[in-house]
C-alpha cells in the first residue's frame, strides 16, 4: 500500500504493472474489503470470494493494455452539466411519518439506532 501511495499520481503504467502482480486477492485482502463494505462474511464466503473476485479482476484487467492516450474519462453520458432547480419547498407524495413507518425502530419522529457514544 505504501508503494502504491508513492507511485500514485506519477506514471500510470507503473501502477498498472504493479496491479497486474497484485490482482490475486488474499484472504486478508478480502476481509479488509468486507470491512470497508460493512459485510460480516462467513469463513466460507471469504474463501469463495478470494477465488471468484480474483477471477473477475483478472478479466477486467484486460483493459490495462488498452491505449487511451489523449482521451478523457466519461462520467455523464448525455453531456449534462450542473443541473439545478429553484430552492423551494414542495409538497411530496411521502411525508416524514410515511418514511418512518419503514424504520426498524423510531421514536419521537426520528430514527432510533443503537448507542454510538459510551
Amino acid at each position: 500500500m505504501l508503494f502504491l501511495a508513492v507511485v500514485h499520481g506519477q506514471r500510470q503504467s507503473v501502477i498498472l504493472t504493479f496491479i497486474e502482480v497484485m490482482s490475486k486477492l488474499t484472504r486478508k485482502a478480502v476481509l479488509k474489503l468486507a470491512h470497508l463494505s460493512r459485510l460480516k462474511l462467513s469463513d466460507e464466503e471469504v474463501d469463495r470470494f478470494a477465488v471468484e473476485l480474483t477471477h473477475i479482476l483478472e478479466y477486467v484487467e484486460t483493459l490495462n493494455s488498452v491505449d487511451v492516450r489523449g482521451l478523457e474519462p466519461t462520467y455523464q453520458i448525455t453531456g449534462l452539466k450542473n443541473v439545478t432547480r429553484g430552492d423551494e419547498i414542495k409538497k411530496y407524495q411521502a411525508q416524514p411519518k410515511d418514511l418512518l413507518a419503514s424504520a426498524p425502530a423510531a421514536k419521537d419522529g426520528q430514527y432510533k439506532v443503537k448507542r454510538i457514544v459510551g
Partner: protein
C-alpha cells in the same frame, strides 16, 4: 395465440365502454394464478388494482376521458416502487418493504389510465442475466421450463409472453431488458439514457440505468415510451423528450443505411443464431436498405469496462441498505457497527456482495485511477467509435445475445461465465444510446433476438425501423 389486443385497442374499447377495466384486471389476475408454475410473479397488487379499475370504469360511465392506456393492466419489475403491496427488488434485504411513494414512471402510466396488477421477479437488485439470482425463486422460460428467461427483467418478460398482462416494465443497466426479450421472444426497448425518469426505481448503476417496456409489438413499446418519457424534476439526469409522439413511426426502409457490426458477428455466435440474424439482414437488403459491414474495434472491451463501472456504482448505491432506516435489520447485533455488518451480511445475496466488494476495491484509494478512471476512459473510446459509425449509418444491427436461452443452472457455477451473457448488450449502456431487441425467428425451437441500435435521442427512428422489420418478418 395472443390473448391481448394492441394497447391502443384495449384503451379505446375501455374508453368506449365496450370493455370494462375491472374485467381486464380480473383476467390478468386469473392468468397469473393459472400460470404460476412459471414463477414470473413475486406478488400481486390485487386490492389496489381492482379499486383503480372500478374508478376507471366509473369515469367512463360519467363520460370522462381516462387516457391513452385506459384500463390497460401491466406488470412492473419488482424494483419499481409501487403502492398496494411490497417492493422487494427480489432481495431478502427488502423483504416486507412497503414503498412510501411510487416510481415516477408508474405514476405517469397510472395518470394515463394503466393499472399495475403485479410485481415481477428479477435477479436480486437486477444483478444478473438469467433471473436465477432472485432471492425468491427462478423464473422459467415460457418456451421451455428447463431454461432461463434471461435477466434481469426475466419475470416481466416471461409475464408478457405468458399473456399475464399486455405489457410489463423492466430496467436495463447492461442488457436486462433486451436479453430476456431475446430469450423469450418479446420486444424489449432500452431508451436513450435519461429519457424516462428513474425516480422511485431501486438504483443499480446510475450512469447506465434506464427504464423501458417489454411488449409483444413495437407499436405497444412506442406507446408505453410515449407515456413514460418526459420531464420529471425528481430525476436530474433527464434529457428533453421529442415533441413529436414516439408513436408517430417512420417505417420506411428504403435508403436507410444499416451497419452490420462485425464484432457482434464474430466467433462465439451460436450457428443457429447466426442463421437467423443473417436472414434478417437479407430482409433489410431486399427491402431496399443499404446494408454494409462496419467495425467498432473497441466493442469487445465494453464488458470489462462495464464490470468495473457497474460494481463501482452498485457499491455506492447499495451503501444505503444499512439496517437502520428501512429493510432488513439484524436482531443479533450488539452495537451500531455490528448492526450495519450483520444486517448487510444477512440481507444481501452472494451476487450483491460480490459486486459491492469488487466496487469497493476498484474505487479504493490507490486503485481508483487504474480501474475506475481507466474504465471510464475506455468508455470514451467506445463512445467515439459509435459516434464515428453513426456518421455513416442510421442504425447498427446484430444479434442481441450470442446464444438462445440456456438451461437453468448451466451458468451459475461461475460468476464470470454469467457476466459474459451480456457481452453484446452492454456497449449501448456504456454509450447511453437506444437499442431494441425484436424477435427474429427461432433456433432449436427457441427465440432469437435481433438488436437494432441508434444514436442518442433517435428513439423514435429506432422504433420505426424496428416496426418495419416486424412487418417484414
Amino acid at each position: 395465440m395472443v390473448e391481448w389486443p394492441a394497447l391502443s385497442v384495449i384503451a379505446s374499447r375501455v374508453q368506449s365502454g365496450q370493455l370494462k377495466a375491472v374485467d381486464l384486471v380480473a383476467k390478468s389476475l386469473q392468468a397469473i394464478t393459472d400460470k404460476r408454475e412459471y414463477q414470473a410473479i413475486i406478488s400481486t397488487v390485487t386490492d389496489r388494482a381492482k379499486q383503480r379499475a372500478s374508478q376507471i370504469d366509473e369515469k367512463v360511465k360519467n363520460g370522462l376521458s381516462v387516457g391513452p392506456l385506459a384500463g390497460v393492466p401491466f406488470i412492473a419489475k419488482d424494483n419499481f416502487l409501487t403502492f398496494g403491496g411490497e417492493t422487494t427488488a427480489a432481495s431478502n434485504i427488502l423483504r416486507g418493504f412497503k414503498a412510501p411513494y411510487q416510481a415516477s414512471a408508474v405514476e405517469k402510466l397510472e395518470d394515463a389510465g394503466a393499472v399495475c396488477v403485479a410485481k415481477a421477479n428479477l435477479d436480486a437488485f437486477a444483478h444478473g442475466s438469467s433471473t436465477e439470482n432472485s432471492d425468491w425463486f427462478v423464473t422459467k422460460n415460457p418456451h421451455d421450463k428447463t431454461r432461463v428467461p434471461g435477466g434481469s427483467s426475466g419475470g416481466s418478460t416471461a409475464a408478457v409472453i405468458l399473456d399475464l398482462a399486455p405489457f410489463a416494465l423492466g430496467t436495463d443497466t447492461g442488457g436486462s431488458i433486451r436479453l430476456p426479450a431475446s430469450f423469450c421472444g418479446a420486444v424489449g426497448l432500452k431508451p436513450t439514457y435519461g429519457l424516462v425518469s428513474r425516480s422511485g426505481v431501486v438504483a443499480m448503476a446510475s450512469s447506465t440505468d434506464v427504464i423501458g417496456p417489454l411488449t409483444r409489438t413495437v407499436e405497444d413499446a412506442a406507446l408505453v415510451l410515449d407515456v413514460m418519457s418526459g420531464f420529471d424534476q425528481l430525476d436530474s439526469t433527464m434529457i428533453e423528450r421529442d415533441n413529436n409522439p414516439y408513436t408517430n413511426l417512420d417505417t420506411k426502409i428504403e435508403g436507410k443505411k444499416i451497419g452490420v457490426v462485425k464484432e457482434y458477428m464474430a466467433e462465439g455466435l451460436e450457428p443457429g443464431v447466426r442463421v437467423q440474424i443473417e436472414s434478417a439482414i437479407d430482409k433489410f437488403k431486399k427491402a431496399g436498405a443499404q446494408v454494409t459491414e462496419v467495425s467498432l474495434p473497441s466493442l469487445p472491451l465494453a464488458l470489462a469496462t462495464y464490470y468495473i463501472v457497474c460494481p463501482a456504482e452498485v457499491s455506492s448505491n447499495l451503501a444505503r441498505y444499512d439496517g437502520q432506516r428501512y429493510g432488513h435489520s439484524s436482531k443479533n447485533a450488539k452495537d451500531l457497527d455490528e448492526s450495519y455488518e450483520l444486517s448487510r451480511e444477512e440481507g444481501f445475496g452472494l451476487e450483491a456482495k460480490r459486486r459491492i466488494m469488487i466496487g469497493t476495491h476498484v474505487l479504493s484509494s490507490g486503485y481508483y485511477d487504474a480501474y475506475y478512471k481507466k474504465a471510464q476512459t475506455v468508455r470514451t473510446k467506445i463512445i467515439n467509435e459509435f459516434h464515428q459509425a453513426f456518421t455513416g449509418y442510421d442504425f447498427l444491427i446484430g444479434p442481441t445475445a450470442p446464444m438462445v436461452a440456456f438451461k437453468i443452472g448451466e451458468r451459475t457455477d461461475d460468476p464470470l461465465k454469467m457476466y459474459l451473457t451480456d457481452i453484446i448488450t452492454v456497449a449501448a449502456n456504456m454509450a447511453g444510446i437506444p437499442a431494441i431487441s425484436i424477435p427474429a425467428g427461432k433456433s432449436q425451437g427457441l427465440p432469437v433476438g435481433l438488436q437494432l441500435i441508434a444514436p442518442q435521442r433517435a428513439d423514435r427512428a429506432l422504433l420505426g425501423i424496428a416496426k418495419a422489420f416486424e412487418e417484414l418478418a
